[in-house]
């Protein structure tokens, strides 16, 4: 197989160093070996261990605990996505209207979290959220009493939102940067109140960025493992933790595999549903 394409490519495009398809073969071989084959193993084991059949899926969807965790996983992802949209929207908008120096500073704030390793950042959230942590000290100092944050779902959402926020801000900013602000001015000069000009002109134009960021955040949140494992408690277990538990602690590859397949299918269904929204974004970009 690797022998045939270069000859064909070399004949048709003599100026290039080799056939184009041949160049992707090394990466594709690695992809099949380290991603394709392992995922296939997961799918196979979900149907074959301990015996062939769909018993693992029957077990998964027939056990109330699993369904609670599945629902919670989607719920947490939805909350995180919503929190990201709400906090990223004004921030990204601000990035488009301030001067260059201020914009540099705002971009810096988005990128700084990437400078510290992801695990260290989650540990920082442990420091901030724990019962004797920074947030609770501040609340106590302000006379508001203390809130239990660590080992709760709220703590998980707060931590995950911070980790995922840059993935929302950056696509949103790249779309907002391309919006012609004169359109909003035109709406204003035609008598629209500021709120109406925003809702009918600016918001629709910025929606492609919201969709793109939201889908990335939601998909990444579905598979999150480290943050929920460190910030969450027994009552905020997510599907990824449950799957790890099945495989590593209970050595039940069949049930763990079935959970993995559920996560995989959910991810790819979401991606497929989001594809038309992404395409719409490209079209709008072209029209501009």
């Amino acid at each position: 197989m690797p022998a045939a394409p270069p000859a064909k490519g070399a004949r048709k495009a003599p100026r290039f160093i080799a056939g184009p398809l041949w160049l992707t073969v090394p990466a594709l071989v690695l992809l099949v070996a380290v991603v394709g084959y392992p995922l296939l193993i997961i799918v196979l084991r979900s149907f074959s261990e301990p015996a062939w059949g769909v018993q693992n899926y029957v077990w998964f969807f027939g056990t109330p605990v699993n369904l609670v965790v599945l629902q919670r996983t989607f719920e947490v992802s939805a909350w995180v996505t919503l929190a990201c949209v709400i906090s990223a929207y004004p921030y990204a908008y601000m990035m488009t209207v301030v001067g260059p120096a201020m914009r540099m500073l705002l971009i810096l704030c988005v990128l700084v979290p990437f400078w510290v390793s992801g695990v260290v950042r989650t540990m920082a959230w442990v420091i901030l959220l724990q019962d004797s942590g920074v947030i609770n000290s501040l609340l106590k100092w302000a006379g508001l009493g203390t809130v239990r944050l660590i080992r709760t779902q709220l703590g998980v959402v707060i931590g995950m939102t911070q980790v995922l926020l840059p993935f929302m801000i950056l696509p949103l900013y790249s779309v907002m940067r391309g919006i012609d602000l004169r359109l909003v001015q035109a709406a204003r000069s035609l008598g629209a109140r500021p709120s109406r000009a925003f809702l009918q002109v600016y918001l629709p134009l910025s929606l492609p960025g919201v969709y793109a960021g939201a889908i990335i955040v939601f998909i990444l949140a579905l598979g999150f493992y480290i943050t929920p494992a460190l910030l969450g408690g027994p009552r905020s277990v997510l599907l990824s933790t449950l799957m790890q538990n099945q495989v590593l602690s209970l050595l039940n590859w069949g049930r763990g595999g079935a959970m993995g397949v559920v996560l995989l299918v959910a991810t790819f269904v979401l991606l497929a549903l989001a594809a038309p929204l992404m395409r719409q974004r490209h079209k709008q970009g072209a029209r501009r």
Partner: protein
């Protein structure tokens, strides 16, 4: 867009809050690393360098640090070579459908849920005796890093003027010479940023590493994770601070170099 004064004020406050939220977890690590007590309670008490000493002298920490460095360097080189080749192939493919499908396939490691992939790789590595081996780490991290290289190099190839290669060829340069003297220097920024991304991806990767580590070979993130789950050890904060400073220096250096190059 003209804004009322109070709208601007509220917007500014919200942005300030979001900025603090983004940055606070990074900065809170720094004071914790000088804690005199072995605790992660805030605020830290006293001042000491002991956690930095521990990072440098405790073999658990130093060996995992060097393991990460070794793995990330190998991954950066391998992923950059494979990713750049693939980006070229995708760019020069005549069928847009084929290149679109292949590109999507090569990017999938970015969206596959981490735990699912990690457990799959763990299953395969158990059979292939690759758990806790350098080769196993490099292979797994390379496939996770390739998408970043492809994205970075493709962005450069998109704006690269292919007629330059034709010009080089018509001046008598062979294909390899043309690539080496014309194409490569022009897409070098993309390749370098791909290299950097690949290094960071591997150095920071935790989920797959958690599964394929064993007591003989573990990377720094795994050591950090086990340390956090086991006890409240401020060494983690010291490591975080060192990494933060190192990254800041690299980025500042890169910015300075870029500025000087632009000026000359």
């Amino acid at each position: 867009m003209p804004m009322q004064k109070h709208t601007r004020l509220i917007l500014g406050l919200v942005c300030l809050l979001v900025a603090v939220w983004l940055v606070a977890p990074t900065l809170v690590v720094i004071p914790m690393s000088f804690n005199a007590n072995k605790s992660l309670a805030f605020p830290p008490v006293g001042f000491s360098w002991q956690w930095y000493e521990n990072f440098l002298t405790n073999p658990d920490w130093s060996s995992s640090f060097f393991n990460s460095l070794k793995v990330a360097t190998l991954v950066a080189v391998l992923a950059t070579v494979l990713g750049t080749l693939a980006a070229f192939g995708l760019d020069r493919m005549r069928s847009a459908t084929a290149s679109g499908i292949l590109r999507m396939l090569l990017i999938t490691p970015m969206v596959v849920p981490g735990v699912v992939l990690a457990i799959g790789i763990y299953a395969v590595y158990l059979d292939a005796h690759l758990v806790g081996t350098l080769g196993g780490f490099v292979l797994a991290h390379t496939i996770l890093a390739i998408p970043f290289v492809i994205i970075a190099v493709s962005a450069n190839l998109e704006v690269f003027d292919k007629r330059l290669e034709t010009a080089a060829a018509s001046c008598g340069a062979g294909r390899l010479t043309a690539f080496r003297t014309v194409t490569l220097p022009l897409i070098l920024p993309g390749i370098l940023s791909g290299l950097l991304f690949a290094f960071v991806t591997s150095f920071d990767e935790i989920i797959v590493a958690l599964f394929i580590s064993n007591p003989y070979l573990k990377t720094l993130p795994v050591q950090i994770f086990t340390s956090i789950t086991r006890d409240a050890d401020p060494t983690v904060a010291a490591v975080g601070t060192v990494l933060f400073l190192a990254t800041s220096l690299v980025i500042a250096g890169g910015l300075l170099l870029g500025n000087r190059r632009r000026k000359s």
